[in-house]
Symmetry: C2
Subunit: 253 residues, 2 copies
Amino acid sequence: MIAVVLLGAGNVGQHLFEAIKKSSDTEVVQWYNRDIAKLQPFKNETDICDSIESLKEADIYIIAVSDDAIKNLALQLPFNDRLVVHTSGMTSIHDLDKSLHRGVFYPLQSFTKGKPIDFKKVPICLEALNKQHYVILQQLANALGSKSYKINTEQRKTLHLSAVFVNNFGNQLFRIAHELSDAKNINFEILKPLIVETADKINELSPYMAQTGPAVRGDKKTLKQHLKELDNSPHKLVYELMTQSIKRTHGKR
Amino acid sequence: MIAVVLLGAGNVGQHLFEAIKKSSDTEVVQWYNRDIAKLQPFKNETDICDSIESLKEADIYIIAVSDDAIKNLALQLPFNDRLVVHTSGMTSIHDLDKSLHRGVFYPLQSFTKGKPIDFKKVPICLEALNKQHYVILQQLANALGSKSYKINTEQRKTLHLSAVFVNNFGNQLFRIAHELSDAKNINFEILKPLIVETADKINELSPYMAQTGPAVRGDKKTLKQHLKELDNSPHKLVYELMTQSIKRTHGKR
């Protein structure tokens, strides 16, 4: 049984709590948050606290607070030589105080408040400074049913950047399509199956092989008609730049 | 039983053939293609032909050829006053010869060669010039298990444009993430669950509500670090423009 103390009650903290609760191989022995009010709904499920001084003993301390607060919180921990990990894509392992046994436990997924997620679908990027600690992190990921990957700080930053492209920018493309279709009284439902299929396709084909459409075909007539339709639209630039990007990838002009 | 003559053996034609084959309420009575060789593998499943003169009688003729070839093929049809539809997002219903009963049967989905698709996940955009023909198209969509929507030519063009944003441009974002992660020896598998979850989320939240990340948070520190990492990368412009686009949508500067 892996004993976990969880620090932070935001989105990631809450999803981790739920995932750990479901597992029979690990347990949240205590949940710390600066503002105890956020933890009150969970007081019958684990020991809750808002005092950093009264942290219990555990195998792993998981810091799930905002990036800016990680360093400071780690500094305040009233012990040395225990395994402390953060969960941030953008933060170096070395931002944790070196009196600690440091690690990173970065779940690469989009967590929605109130929407439970199956941790089988949450890859965990692990980093530790020695083998022994790495193995403990691996055991924790396994206990949650997650696949884990060895990812160093530099790689993790690139993953975080890549995640912005596929998640935030991908979602913004959906928003643009939503705006375009709303303006013509088109039901956005029509586009949803295409959005889901586009994502699912990468499980069978590389994005390179999966590409279709006017840009990769070099279909100038369609490109011209689309640009004409986007005249005076703020989305025209996105159309032009993404078309260029596809052409570059596929060696077209 | 709705009798269909299919014209064209490309990607859409083949997926339509398979979908119609599965349904007990409709049947491909004949499959025409200019090049008969492409139809040989199906010769035991339906009547195949390469002569436009020998087309059989049917309830619906579905033209599934490239956009540029639709008009000409419709002109050559050796009959009048039969229901003929095309399957194109970018082509007007009026591009079909007016001696015909004209319609559009536009499946809005990404079809992958050799990957069967459940037509329950293929919304069909229908257009006809009178109620009676519209009802027949609706019956055909129902027979395939598809949801259908009434969409006029102008709306259909906007849908096609929107599909380019979510499908082609979305896929290009996956490609960019693939390039970025490959360059750091990161397994692209790590990003796949996030890609799928990002798409699935629109079934619960609007893209507006689903947006997260540094652009919508106004997290300047992360934006700056990401841009620094993209220095000298061809993808920096995409990052900048998509970030601007998100900020505009959410009223940030």
